[in-house]
Symmetry: C2
Subunit: 142 residues, 2 copies
């Protein structure tokens, strides 16, 4: 049972990653609950029930395909609640020609409903350098 | 039962906040499981089983008491697993005289053991400005 749950959550995370790779905002949002609370890489601090608009804007800043893989996924589940965390690797070329290759942390909170597992909370971040520069640490590798 | 679980997790989060306020590294770590995985405000990307050393170093950068409150705590729990998220408000004076007043996001993953609820995963962050500056958004208010 635990293995089945873990396999299903793993599949949901991979479904979300695949939607991001093909720039499919509806596909990403389909993995989320209606009361989804997002702590995104960009401000503001908190976004309630993010729709497809923010994702579509973000997808438009990329030229060609996006690489998006979640590594070292750790899943903790019991009953109808679970959380998981891992390191996301985002790659691609921005429309201004800049090559992106960023690792960031991702934590997901999940709930099981009659329709299966859904993501109700998402927290994505990079740390920042505490050397006075306050620069986001987008150059870290695991 | 759900209410009791929520009350216990709320109390654990407050116990952790109180330990941070009194600069009690052992008290903070006592709220964590041995296999705790930390995504901290500062690099690296991931810290496994953080002990008291990092906290003691951090506490030493503050002059006098620290203010630490978690607001808008949302708790989702079932069986022996839970996660919660909220906005932490950190205030105080650094040893260099600088006043700190920062809001950041915090997500906790929890598990219930024979000894009660414990924190197995912690993800803390501020977003960063995507205006080319890559500056950490430490000036946001909820």
């Amino acid at each position: 049972m635990a293995n089945t749950t873990e396999a299903r959550i793993h599949a949901l995370v991979e479904e979300r990653s695949a939607a991001l790779r093909r720039k499919d905002a509806k596909g990403v949002v389909a993995c989320q609950a209606a009361d989804h609370v997002l702590y995104s890489l960009a401000p503001p601090l908190r976004i309630d029930d993010p729709g497809t608009a923010g994702l579509d804007d973000w997808f438009a800043t990329w030229d060609g395909p996006i690489g998006y893989e979640v590594h070292d996924l750790g899943i903790v589940a019991d009953g109808d609640v679970a959380f998981c965390h891992g390191l996301a690797h985002l790659t691609g070329t921005k429309t201004d020609g800049e090559r992106a290759d960023v690792w960031f942390r991702i934590t997901l909170g999940l709930r099981r409903t009659a329709d299966g597992w859904t993501i109700v909370h998402e927290h994505e971040s990079v740390p920042f350098y505490m050397d006075g520069s306050l620069r986001a640490a987008v150059d870290l590798k695991p």
